[in-house]
Symmetry: C2
Subunit: 107 residues, 2 copies
DNA sequence: TCGTAATATTGCAATATTACGATAATAAGT
DNA sequence: ACTTATTATCGTAATATTGCAATATTACGA
């Protein structure tokens, strides 16, 4: 028990849930918003900006990166986080079309 | 530990996460999609349609309802589930504008 | 009111997520 | 090579989520 039964749902349904999950935690939403607001893409102060430990921020960044939402991660003294706008826009369209088609077919 | 620290984020950030969480499980996405596809709004066969127990479906429905996404719940032998299209559309717009504004300010 | 069908709730087990301290790894500069 | 700054990973604790069996509730019809 306790395991999400993904195999009983279609790929499309699972994809919607997978995308939504990235945004389902306020820390990750904050991180994305903060990165988007930076002039340059050097964002080594997420820890100070958001009130969570460095380890926790790093974990959330991994989740965001695993979803394909980060790019331009150059290793160095400070890492460079940028949102992968292609994937980000893709997520927006996928979610939005889910809402639109679901709404249109609703009773 | 283990508790999401909502108080460190703005209401707006928490709202985005709260909305996304509803769609962050494939069972709930399936339920919403299925309900939207019904001609009438009598949907007492979700259990047969999705491969989960009646108790589990009921729990997911509660989550969806608590978010304000269900309406027209008439008590009776069979309950009647309809998506609250106002809230649903509101969620779409909130998420979509988050994507758009976050994207537009990105480096 | 009694039986039946449909849905909700409870209790519990299994797994997932969140958070952080400690520590390791990485890269730049000296 | 050594130090320093930054980020990643590991280990662990606490909480949340998922799923289902059992049971309760609800509403309808006979």
């Amino acid at each position: 028990m306790g395991v999400t039964k993904r195999f009983i749902h279609s790929d499309y349904i699972n994809e919607i849930a997978r995308i939504a999950k990235v945004f389902a935690h306020p820390a990750r939403v904050s991180i994305l918003k903060y990165i988007s607001e930076q002039e340059s893409c050097i964002c080594n102060d997420l820890v100070d900006e958001i009130g969570l430990s460095q380890a926790t921020i790093s974990q959330h960044l991994t989740v965001i990166a695993d979803a394909g939402l980060l790019k331009g991660i150059y290793k160095g003294k400070a890492k460079c986080y940028c949102i992968n706008l292609e994937t980000f826009e893709n997520f927006r369209e996928t979610l939005n079309s889910f809402f639109i088609t679901t709404k249109s077919k609703c009773c």
